[in-house]
């Protein structure tokens, strides 16, 4: 195999890995959000990833998380030697790129101005919101299809339909340290407690608001990115 062939296959693996990097605030992959501007792999297996965000002043905390996550998912891939992630056109790009290049955390980018623990707490907060949003989408669909509240809430993880929201919901549960065993309740509160029938309507009402918030943010981000980079229309309005 020539090195250019292996570089091409490495690139495919890199892109697939980047599908697993999630914008923590929007709970969507950075690839479908079109935040990955380019991926280059040279014959030696050195990977250069360029990221772009909707505005030059997007929150540095989330920007850092995405850039660091991109580096971390790509580094262990076979065929990859060095990984450099470059955050383009961002007002803290130099600080973030510098810290990433040195293999440092968020505190490395902004010494004395932040703590890495707080960044992880922020990520967790949004994972909880995303979990509510994902689960409620499934739950509403089941109720629409005719299931009763009792039936829906009696479901276990193994009964969940094979839909993207359900898969993502389980990933979020795992990330939050909540039970994902096949016997665990299918629908849980952010604490891991099962949702009970009395709470269902209220839980769905609140979940819908959380989902609206996520979707509206995603919509604004997509529109800003589109306007900034003259991208073609992006019809995806609804969180899937």
């Amino acid at each position: 195999m020539t090195s250019s062939v292996s570089a091409a296959s490495t690139r495919v693996r890199v892109l697939a890995a980047l599908d697993r990097v999630i914008d923590p605030e929007l709970d969507e992959p950075i690839t479908s959000l079109r935040f990955v501007r380019s991926v280059e792999v040279d014959p030696d297996g050195d990977v250069r990833i360029a990221l772009r965000l909707p505005t030059p002043q997007c929150a540095p905390n989330f920007a850092f998380l995405m850039a660091a996550d991109a580096r971390n998912v790509v580094r262990p891939l076979p065929g990859v030697r060095q990984v450099s992630v470059l955050l383009e056109d961002h007002y803290t790009g130099d600080e973030i790129n510098g810290a990433l290049g040195r293999g440092e955390g968020f505190t490395g980018a902004f010494p004395g101005e932040t703590e890495d623990d707080e960044l992880e707490a922020l990520r967790e907060l949004f994972q909880r919101k995303a979990l509510i949003a994902r689960q409620s989408t499934i739950c509403e669909a089941l109720l629409r299809e005719g299931a009763t509240p009792e039936q829906v809430l009696a479901m276990r993880v193994r009964d969940l339909p094979d839909r993207p929201e359900a898969r993502r919901g389980l990933e979020l549960r795992a990330a939050l340290g909540l039970d994902t065993g096949s016997d665990a309740p299918a629908f849980v509160l952010a604490t891991g407690e099962p949702v009970v029938v009395d709470q269902l309507q209220r839980w769905l009402r609140m979940a819908r608001l959380v989902r609206t918030s996520l979707e509206a943010n995603g919509g604004i981000c997509r529109s800003l990115l589109q306007a900034r980079h003259n991208l073609a229309d992006d019809p995806e309005e609804v969180l899937r």
Partner: protein, 354 residues
């Protein structure tokens, strides 16, 4: 007054600016931030209809003539509220200070209200400044940025001990309207600067004050709604909501409106154009015509409807009440202001929280 289809509307634009972001006003050594800030605002303009976009040169410094035409003539705004934004670390004479706003207001008597600012971390000097500003500008309101950095402090909260004397001073000085920026922001880096929970406590402790949450906590609408529904003196400032979503993402806009109408209610929502980010005209015009895109669809069917009276409240009457603006009789609603919003829902959330 804005007129459409033979109907006339009294308009209060509760959130607008008149700024100077020209390169001549950039602080030396801070040019990248000054430029980045205005570029960022300019990107937001891109979410409005294309025919309303301005080139960046005009966007940096629109003229007084532009303001008068866009706001008063085309927008039909009866009264506008200036929200002052200083940013003196990036802009030499400030981005949009109360001083500059007051100069403009003086030229248009009765048409513009200048809001001030305070920052509790400035302590006694800040209180003194607030007193002076209140006198000089006849302040009825302030705009606060809790996420701002100051001498090594990474933001502050309205329920901090240090904020108390400032809120008390506001009551004493008759500054009733506390606009708080809980929306798109830059600093701080790691904390969740959008978190509106501090308002909850401040609003309960200061029932005479009104707390208007600008940009409804975007991107944390849910946290805002859960809080606002329990506090009678918390209002939703719709700046960025209308400008950023109504044209660019109409289905999302409809959902956000539906949620706000459900949790907060039409009596506590205030229109704000965020001019010069977006011109008021297309926002007001579109809002008057607005309805759910597909009212009977599952996504929208159980949201409260918004009729013409509700739109009148949001476009002007609610803010007129907060700012004591005289509304000519022809614009007043026959049945008065309407009942307080969403009391049942407040109970719903309280019981959920309890």
């Amino acid at each position: 007054m804005y007129e459409k289809n033979g109907e006339r509307y009294f308009i209060v634009d509760s959130h607008m600016h008149f700024w100077d972001a020209s390169p001549e006003n950039w602080v030396k050594g801070q040019e990248q931030y000054a430029k980045g800030w205005i570029d960022c605002f300019h990107a937001y303009m891109g979410l409005g209809p294309p025919e309303t976009h301005w080139p960046i040169e005009k966007f940096m410094t629109y003229s007084e003539d532009d303001f008068v035409k866009d706001v008063f003539e085309d927008g039909g705004v009866d009264v506008g509220v200036f929200q002052s934004t200083y940013l003196k670390e990036w802009y030499t004479t400030g981005f949009n200070t109360a001083e500059e706003n007051a100069k403009m207001a003086a030229k248009h008597p009765g048409r513009l209200i200048t809001n001030g600012r305070w920052d509790p971390r400035e302590g006694k000097a800040g209180l003194k400044q607030l007193e002076e500003d209140a006198k000089r500008y006849n302040l009825q309101g302030v705009k606060l940025y809790t996420a701002e950095w100051y001498q090594g402090s990474r933001g502050w909260r309205l329920d901090d001990e240090q904020s108390k004397p400032f809120l008390e001073k506001c009551q004493e000085l008759g500054i009733r309207n506390i606009h708080v920026h809980k929306g798109p922001t830059i600093w701080p880096l790691d904390k969740d600067a959008f978190d509106p929970r501090d308002i909850d406590i401040a609003a309960t402790s200061n029932p005479e004050l009104n707390f208007i949450i600008e940009h409804v906590g975007l991107p944390r609408i849910e946290d805002f709604c859960f809080m606002a529904t329990q506090e009678p003196n918390v209002y939703a400032g719709l700046s960025v909501v209308v400008g950023g979503l109504m044209f660019a993402r109409p289905r999302f806009f409809a959902k956000v409106m539906g949620e706000l109408l459900f949790w907060v209610g039409e009596d506590k929502m205030l229109f704000g154009s965020d001019y010069g980010i977006w011109e008021p005209k297309w926002q007001i015009d579109g809002f008057i015509d607005w309805d759910y895109p597909d009212p009977d669809h599952d996504e929208f069917s159980d949201y409260p409807r918004l009729n013409s009276d509700g739109k009148r409240k949001i476009l002007g009457l609610n803010a007129a009440k907060l700012y004591g603006i005289d509304v000519p009789k022809e614009f007043q609603l026959a049945n008065g202001a309407g009942a307080p919003a969403a009391q049942d829902d407040a109970q719903l959330v309280e019981s959920a929280a309890g």
